[in-house]
């Protein structure tokens, strides 16, 4: 057991709402494109599930990560029910680097070359389809990669914080982020408006 690293505290359930409420809510909002009432519902369900599961929670993950994991499962359940995100992946097995093997030839050169995304990223942010694609692609990442990517790129957490929350080394976090970015780039490319390739 390592107890010295970072905020590994566990809080009494009565404190959960004040400690985790806003950040869980924000995460749900991000994932649900700003749907407040649905976000509230899922946060509520998360607290209930956490309550039910708290005796089974071995404390191997940071409490915050555990809570986010529950919420994320609720969100993916919601997407699955909606059938809008049919390819949602709960695949935990991301120890291989199939993506790298797919994208690079044996000599280390690109097998599939990155496409051209045009010149004006600012305009892309206004593209609703693309924003939805970004959500869908995040949902398709293997779970640990998704958590790493979301903590880092969406919430802008420092790499050391991300590593602590995920309980991995900083080096392994870099690997997770690298794989997530490769997948995200490839996935978004399929949805890209100017989908021309070089």
């Amino acid at each position: 057991m390592k107890e010295s690293t970072g905020p590994s505290a566990r809080y009494a359930p009565e404190q959960w709402v004040d400690i985790y409420g806003d950040s869980l809510f924000r995460h749900a909002l991000f994932r649900l494109n700003g749907n407040r009432s649905l976000a509230e519902d899922l946060v509520q369900e998360t607290f209930l599930a956490a309550w039910m599961g708290r005796s089974g929670y071995a404390g191997t993950a940071q409490e915050k990560t555990w809570m986010f994991g529950i919420l994320e499962h609720k969100i993916l359940d919601h997407f699955r029910q909606q059938k809008r995100h049919p390819q949602v992946s709960l695949d935990e097995n991301d120890n291989g680097d199939e993506m790298e093997q797919l994208l690079f030839r044996a000599d280390g050169r690109w097998a599939l070359r990155p496409g051209n995304w045009g010149k004006n990223p600012e305009q892309l942010a206004e593209n609703q389809d693309l924003m939805e694609a970004l959500q869908r692609c995040v949902g398709e990442l293997p779970e640990t990669q998704r958590t790493a990517f979301v903590y880092r790129e969406w919430y802008g957490e420092e790499t050391t914080t991300c590593a602590t929350l995920l309980e991995v080394s900083v080096n392994h976090l870099a690997v997770l982020l690298h794989r997530a970015r490769l997948r995200m780039a490839r996935c978004l490319e399929a949805h890209f408006p100017q989908g021309e390739t070089t």
Partner: protein
């Protein structure tokens, strides 16, 4: 000379932490000659920009006080019921 596979790792790494001068030099040399990796570098930066743009509107959001009160009450009730059952 870096391979594209190695360069793509450095590109990702640079997004999170400053590279050492040696890494920077190696990546710079590679990018000079490799349009595909320059493209990938752009993609990785845009992925970041898009993520930021997407999350910006929700960044200051918080639960309504009334919702928090309701949630607190719910957990409180659960705890109370459990105490009774004990």
């Amino acid at each position: 000379m870096l391979t594209c596979k190695e360069a793509s790792r450095s590109i990702s790494k640079a997004q999170d932490n400053p590279l050492s001068w040696r890494e920077r030099l190696a990546l710079g040399m590679h990018l000079l000659f490799c349009a595909s990796c320059r493209q990938y570098e752009r993609q990785v930066r845009w992925l970041h920009d898009l993520s930021q743009a997407m999350t910006a509107p929700c960044r200051g959001a918080h639960l309504e006080e009334s919702t928090k009160a309701r949630l607190r009450e719910q957990i409180h009730d659960l705890a109370a019921r459990e105490d009774v059952e004990k």
